[in-house]
């Protein structure tokens, strides 16, 4: 299943709803393109909704980190919402769970950007 991405504005924050697999190839490339596009539009507060992402490989992890760094470098913030169990486990064993701000509730996540 390839990756799909749509985004919506919630005040100053842009919520990116992702579904599918973030893996080497088109999935990673789409995530990169989406985040870079938002930064070009000066949308620097980004919440990635991963509720429908059940698979990420090392390339996808690398792309998440790359996006996080790119946003931080522009004084923005990138946070994660609704991790599936597999994705949460993956971020925990790679210690990235301590790097990203992770939320289970969208309204709480949106308030955290203020």
């Amino acid at each position: 299943m390839s990756l799909h991405a749509t985004h919506r504005d919630a005040g100053q924050v842009t919520v990116v709803d992702l579904s599918g697999r973030i893996v080497l190839g088109d999935g990673s490339a789409l995530l990169r393109k989406t985040i870079r596009g938002l930064l070009e539009d000066q949308r620097k507060l980004i919440l990635l909704n991963l509720a429908d992402v059940d698979y990420i490989d090392s390339s996808g992890i690398g792309e998440l980190v790359s996006g996080y760094t790119a946003v931080k470098n522009q004084s923005g913030d990138l946070k994660l919402l609704h991790l599936t169990k597999k994705v949460r486990d993956l971020l925990q064993i790679t210690k990235l769970y301590t790097v990203f701000d992770v939320f289970t509730d969208e309204s709480t996540a949106l308030r955290s950007f203020v």
Partner: protein, 161 residues
């Protein structure tokens, strides 16, 4: 090779599509061998990472080089070999992705994931001169696999010490 060992091998092109192809093939073997859902996920992910390693680091994405994938199904485990045509590497040279200075690295987690998800993992010098990843997972005891994959290791991958 023991007579009760089933052997399967394929030669893959050095291209992104080979990663999905290898994963799909090994997943079918793992399912047929009786692995549960969680172990199939771990085996599939490990094969992906092995082939990504061969594609990107070993063969340096050069289309004139091949990736050699082999699967042995013995009486007690599934063994996967991923061989590239690169210059080879030493495991001791691979940076620790959990080190503080590497946490925000955008690459270098593949070896770590294979080690975490498989029961045995090593890298040897292959017949091509490239690196050969050899990794295995014990077969579930008869009747122990369930649709939710409660065989083998616990559902949550354990971090290595």
């Amino acid at each position: 090779m023991a007579s009760d060992t089933k052997h399967l091998e394929m030669t893959l092109e050095t291209q992104v599509e080979s990663v999905n192809l290898a994963e799909e093939m090994c997943l079918r073997v793992a399912e047929a061998a009786g692995f549960g859902e969680d172990d199939c996920y771990r085996i599939g992910m490990s094969v992906r990472e092995g082939v990504i390693n061969a594609f990107h680091y070993g063969n340096e994405e050069r289309p004139d080089k091949k990736i050699h994938l082999a699967v042995d199904l013995t009486a007690d485990k599934m063994i996967i070999h991923v061989l590239d045509e690169g210059a080879g590497f030493k495991l001791s040279d691979v940076p620790d992705p959990l080190a503080e200075e590497n946490l925000l690295s955008t690459s270098g987690r593949g070896i770590f994931l294979m080690r975490a998800f498989m029961d045995e993992f090593t890298v040897v010098s292959g017949r091509t001169g490239g690196a050969e990843i050899v990794m295995s997972k014990k077969l579930p005891a008869p009747g122990s696999a369930s649709p939710n994959g409660q065989s083998g290791k616990s559902a949550t991958p354990q971090q290595e010490a």
